[in-house]
């Protein structure tokens, strides 16, 4: 976009330019491309995985209990003969769902509160900042534990707790970005042409900080998955027969000392790959949105 002066109307604009720039960045940075492929695989596993797996994730078969990885059972079987591969694939949907739901929720809470705080200033800003500070005063995982314990042991509360502990992060970024744009030219122009304050906030400021918020969402997605898996590892949230990565690692933990490594290893590895993928993707997206902050 540096040679705008040459032919302003030949420059690709809007979506076309974004796609081209994205393709350039991915081409430049193989790692981001790789992360994107992983991301597509994870989403596919979440969407159609349950229909493709070779075994019922809940069906036990005691004759085949605690068998190592083989051609029939790629990832082996657990202590009551359930197929670990099927369980790992089926669990993707629940884990990704928890992460996506909590990130969407925290975007609605933290993002909107932060934008309002940065735009209106005054009391709104004071209240939002103090709420964020209060949350920051706790070690985050401990706070999430406390919230789930207090509200009750359900998946909804896991989502809520993960959203709440991420609140300060979103509120701060959104507040800073909205604050910078408060007196920007386009805001003044919108106000001059008779737009109400709420309309300016939602229709002018919010779309402008969306790219930064999306990067933030991708970066916190990995943390959300880790947090949810950690909570279910200590026995909160998802109930045992349900396939979920954190619980599966917890179930396999006892067998790690006696050498049956596959029960805990494969769900743990799936967890690791998912988090790794979201982190890389977040870094890549940041490069697309904000080339200056490139690492």
């Amino acid at each position: 976009m540096t040679d705008v002066a040459l032919a302003p109307d030949k420059q690709p604009r809007g979506l076309v330019a974004l796609v081209r720039h994205a393709r350039y960045v991915i081409g430049e940075n193989r790692v981001t491309g790789f992360a994107f492929v992983l991301f597509v695989l994870i989403i596919l596993a979440a969407l159609i995985g349950p229909y493709l797996v070779p075994y019922d994730p809940l069906a036990s078969n005691t004759a085949m209990a605690l068998k190592g990885p083989s051609l029939q059972h790629w990832f082996g079987t657990d202590q009551i003969g359930r197929d670990v591969f099927s369980r790992v694939v089926v669990a993707t949907r629940l884990d990704v769902f928890i992460a996506v739901a909590s990130v969407a929720l925290v975007f609605l809470m933290g993002g909107l509160a932060g934008v309002a705080a940065g735009f209106f200033g005054g009391w709104t800003e004071r209240i939002v900042s103090r709420v964020a500070d209060t949350i920051m005063a706790f070690p985050l995982f401990v706070l999430a534990m406390g919230i789930v314990a207090a509200l009750g042991n359900t998946v909804q509360n896991i989502i809520l707790a993960t959203a709440i502990v991420n609140f300060p992060l979103y509120a701060r970024v959104a507040r800073a970005e909205a604050n910078v744009r408060r007196e920007a030219g386009f805001v003044l122009a919108a106000r001059l042409s008779g737009n109400g304050e709420m309309r300016i906030l939602l229709a002018h400021i919010l779309p402008n900080i969306m790219p930064i918020m999306i990067v933030q969402m991708s970066l916190t997605m990995g943390y959300a998955i880790l947090n949810a898996a950690g909570l279910s590892f200590i026995g909160l949230g998802v109930r045992p027969p349900t396939p979920e990565w954190g619980i599966m690692v917890a179930e396999g933990a006892a067998f790690m000392v006696s050498g049956e490594w596959w029960i805990a290893f494969f769900p743990g590895a799936a967890l690791m790959i998912a988090v790794f993928c979201f982190n890389l993707l977040g870094d890549g997206l940041r490069d697309i949105v904000d080339p200056q902050r490139r690492t």
Binding site: M145, A149, F233, I234, M256, G268, L271, F276
Partner: protein, 275 residues
């Protein structure tokens, strides 16, 4: 009303009684806190001993092996679930290699705990002059502390590298170099001291993560600290210990932030003048 009574009890140091054990929560937390503190601090020290030099090396020699190692660790470290690292370490070091004892608590059952002085087994056993107990406690501590260290390595190394890079590019470092000071003096005395502030800030954040990760690591290694105490209470829906636990954690974290603020003043006299 209920809250008022709770706060009143709290002011007298009474955290209530556990429903499952009937013990006062306060004493329970007091006996278990040293176990957690010993583990967390050792993990933090190990990770600083590795991460800070690694970050400095990476910053002073961009593109070198240390730089690449730093980048790989920084990306991989944040993606590893801490309970998963712990289990892998148990499998490799206990099951495959047999170098460490079974991941069950602070001390092998053949040893009796050293007389209580600080509650830290490593220090207490040295005070009691029992080297055997010291080694046994260290063996038990090795894996969980290593797990926590791996977990906290990434942010410290990344921050050290970034802030060292910024400082090394500044004018006063150039002047120091031009004045002919030895590279070691320039890096350690001049650059590192100035690069410390962001690193110390990161330490506060890392400590917050560590307090959370502690809960998971204690569960993996059956460590009798306050984290596993809270998890047991959680499973039994026992509320008073959990309240006490969250409160203790918050107090520890706030206290740590205070220590960090004081450290700023010690490292950088300019901060002291402003305050």
């Amino acid at each position: 009303m209920q809250f008022g009574r709770y706060v009143g009890d709290l002011a007298r140091g009474d955290l209530g009684n556990s429903l499952t054990t009937g013990q006062p929560v306060g004493t329970e937390i007091r006996t278990r806190l040293p176990a957690s503190a010993e583990l967390t601090l050792l993990g933090l020290i190990v990770s600083m001993l590795v991460a800070v030099p690694l970050g400095i090396l990476a910053a002073t020699r961009p593109g070198s092996l240390a730089d690449h190692a730093c980048r790989v660790i920084a990306t991989a470290g944040v993606s590893l679930p801490v309970f998963f690292t712990g289990l892998i370490l148990v499998y490799v070091f206990y099951y495959l290699l047999g170098w460490t004892p079974a991941p069950l608590g602070r001390l092998d059952i053949f040893f009796s705990p050293p007389p209580h002085v600080t509650g830290f087994y490593l220090i207490d056993s040295l005070i009691a002059g029992s080297l055997e107990t010291f080694v046994a406690a260290l063996k038990q501590l090795f894996l969980p502390a290593l797990t926590l260290a791996i977990f906290s390595l990434a942010p410290i190394a990344r921050m050290t590298r970034a802030s060292m890079l910024a400082v090394l590019a500044s004018d006063f470092v150039r002047t120091a170099r031009a004045s002919g000071l030895a590279p070691y003096t320039v890096i350690v005395t001049y650059a590192f001291r100035n690069a410390m502030i962001p690193v110390v800030t990161t330490l506060g954040m890392v400590f917050s993560f560590l307090l959370g990760a502690n809960v998971l690591v204690e569960k993996v290694f059956a460590w009798p600290g306050i984290g596993s105490f809270a998890v047991e209470a959680l499973v039994a829906s026992d509320f008073a210990p959990l309240q006490g636990f969250v409160l203790t954690m918050a107090v520890m974290y706030v206290a740590l932030n205070l220590v960090i603020d004081i450290l700023y003043g010690l490292i950088d006299p300019r901060v002291r003048l402003e305050a």
